[in-house]
Symmetry: C2
Subunit: 386 residues, 2 copies
Amino acid sequence: MGELKHAATVPAAGKSVTLGTLRLDCGVELGPITIAYETYGRLDAERRNAILVCHALTGDQYAASRHPLTGKPGWWSLMVGPGKVIDTDRFFVICSNVLASCMGTTGPKEVDPATGRTYGLTFPVVTIGDMVRAQAMLLDHLGIADLFCVLGGSMGGMQVLQWAASYPQRVFAAVPIAAAARHSAQNIAFHEVGRQAIMADPSWRHGNYLEEGTVPRAGLAVARMAAHITYLSEAALHRKFGRSLRGGDHVTYRLGPQLPEFEVESYLHHQGSTFVDRFDANSYLYITRAMDYFDLAAEHDGKLANAFIDTPTRFCVVSFTSDWLFPTSESRTIVHALNAVAANVSFVEIETDKGHDAFLLDEPELFNTLSGFLNGAAEHRGLKRP
Amino acid sequence: MGELKHAATVPAAGKSVTLGTLRLDCGVELGPITIAYETYGRLDAERRNAILVCHALTGDQYAASRHPLTGKPGWWSLMVGPGKVIDTDRFFVICSNVLASCMGTTGPKEVDPATGRTYGLTFPVVTIGDMVRAQAMLLDHLGIADLFCVLGGSMGGMQVLQWAASYPQRVFAAVPIAAAARHSAQNIAFHEVGRQAIMADPSWRHGNYLEEGTVPRAGLAVARMAAHITYLSEAALHRKFGRSLRGGDHVTYRLGPQLPEFEVESYLHHQGSTFVDRFDANSYLYITRAMDYFDLAAEHDGKLANAFIDTPTRFCVVSFTSDWLFPTSESRTIVHALNAVAANVSFVEIETDKGHDAFLLDEPELFNTLSGFLNGAAEHRGLKRP
C-alpha cells in the first residue's frame, strides 16, 4: 500500500472532464462542473453496451481500479472486470464520482471559480436527481445515447431508480441493490448523528477547514464508526468479533481514547481512521443530505408507481435478508410500484448474514443473480457475446 | 420545569448514606462509598416487602419522584406509586443511583478523598457486579436481609440477573426486562461510538473537564443522539416522525449545525442537549463500559445455567418484539439457562412497536404482566394486601 495522503490534498488520478453548468434542484446554476470518472472495457461500434455503475455514499469512480489514495483495489473489483459478472470483455463500464463528492468531481473541497476559494459550506445543497443529471451530461459528452444497464447498491441504487424515472428511454435495464425509493426516518437519524459529530469537531471550522489548514479528523471518524455499524448485521459482528478481547482472556479495567478492550472496538477505530485519510468531511455532509432528501414518490404526486408509468426498462431488484439499513421491505415497495405499472421486474432477496454491505462482498448468490440478469438482458438487446 | 443546572454542579437532593469501602472487581478498594437513593412506601414490620428497582444506563434513583435537575416526574412514575403496578401502598420500593453514576453516588464526578480532587479518569473501572455489591451494602445498612423482588429494564435487568446469581438467598423474585446475560458485539460497538464522541470533544480534557471548568457538551450530545436511535424501533421513528419536514412542505436546501431539515433531526438535537444538562460525561464512559463487560456466563465457566444452580428465586423474564438492542433472543437465552436448572420462570414477549424504550413507556401489556407476576409472588410470600 502506497503512502497515504489526505483526500483534500491530492487531485484524483484518472479521467475527468469539465462540462457546462447544471441547474440544481435547489435553483442554483452550478458550473462549469467537472466530472471525474473511470471506464473499463470498450464501447462497441453501435454504442449499445455501456453500463453505468453508480457508487454508494463513500464510494468513488475507482470501481475496478486501484484507489489513488489508499492503493487498494477498486471497491467492486470482485464484480467488475474481464470475465467477471460485469464482464469488461463484453460491456463498457463507466463509473463517475458523484456530484459533491471528493475524488475530482465538483464538490465542496474544490475551488469556487467565482471566488477563488474552496467552496466549503458555500457549496449548494445537491440531490440524487442532481447527481444523475450530472451523469447524464457525462454520457452526452461520451456520445452514449442510452445505457444498456445502470446498476448500483445503496445510494447507488437510489441513483438507479432516479435514472429509470428521469430518463426511461436511456435505460434498457436497471439494477437497484440494497436500496430504497426514499430514506427512512431511522436512516435520516443516523445520518444526522454523523453530521453532528463532524460539525461538533472544532477543527471543522464551520466548514472552512481547508482554508484554515485543519482537518476534522475526530468528528469524521466518529461519523464513520457510527455508520459502519449500520452497514453490518448483528450476526456478522457476532461472527467476526463476538466478545473477543484484545488482551486475550482478561479485561484490563482501563479506560481512555486509545484503550480499546474488545476486538470490535479496534475494528471500529481502524474503520474511522482509514476513512479520514480518504474522504472529505464536507462531502460527507452534502452526500448524506442528498440521500436524506431522496423520496421518489414525493416527486410524483406521492405515488411511487407514477415514477415508472410506461417504463420500457427491465428491472432486477435485489435485497439482503440481514440488511437492516435498507431492509427487504424497502425493495418490496419498489417492486410493488413496478408491478402496479406492469413493468418488467424480477426481485431477489438474498439470504446472507453480511448485512447492508453484502453488495460489496463476496456473495455468490448476488453474483449469480446479476450474471443471469445481465446475460439475459444482453441477449434481448442483441449484444455480442465476448 | 425548574431552572436547569449542570449535573456536575448540583448535589443530589434526597437520601444518601456513606458506607464502608468496597473491593471492586478490578482489585481497587474504593471508599468509603456514598450511595444516593430514594424510597417509596413503607417497610413492613417483618421487613419482607422490599422491592429494589434497578435503573438503566442514564437513569437514577428518582424512579417515582421529581428529578431535581430537570423538574420532570420520575422515570418510572407510570409504574411505581400508590395503586400502581409496583404499588407503594403494598411494597417498600428502593431505588439507588448506581456506582459510577452522577446523582450523588460515588462516581467520577465526585471528589477523591485521597487527593481532594475530582476523580475524573482516575476513578476505577467498575462492573455490574460492583454496582450490585454496593446495593447489597445499602440493603445491609437499611436492615433488609432479603428482597421480595428485584426488578429493572436494560442495564437494570443486568443488575437483576447479577443479583439473582450473586445473592440467590436474598432475592425472592426477579424481573429482568429487555435485558441480556451479556452485552453483544453490536451493542459494544454502539457504546464505543458514544465514548469516542465524548473523548474526541476537546472540552473533555482527558476526563479532567470539571477541574478545568469545561463541559464536553457537543461530544456527550452526539453520544446520546446515537444511543437514542437504538432505544427506539424503526417503526416507532416512522410512526412519530416519518419524513416530516420542519418547514412544512418544502425542503430548505440549507446545511449547518443548527439547521435541522427533518422533524426527526430536531427531536434528536433535543434529546442530545437536554441529556447534557442532567448527565456527566465521565459517568457515561464508566457505565457504558460496565455494561460492555457484563457476561454472566463467563463468570460461571462459560455456562450461563451455572449462574442459577439451585436458585430459589422465581423469575419473570420480559422482552419486546421491536427491541433490536436487547432482542427477544437474548431473553430466550436467559430463559433456557433457567429452564436448564429447573428454575421457576415465566417468560413474556410483548408485542409492541416501541422498541427497547418500551419498558419506560405506557405499555399496558407490560403493566398487566408485571402486575400479575408481582401479585402472584406476593401471595406466595404471604405479603398482606394493601
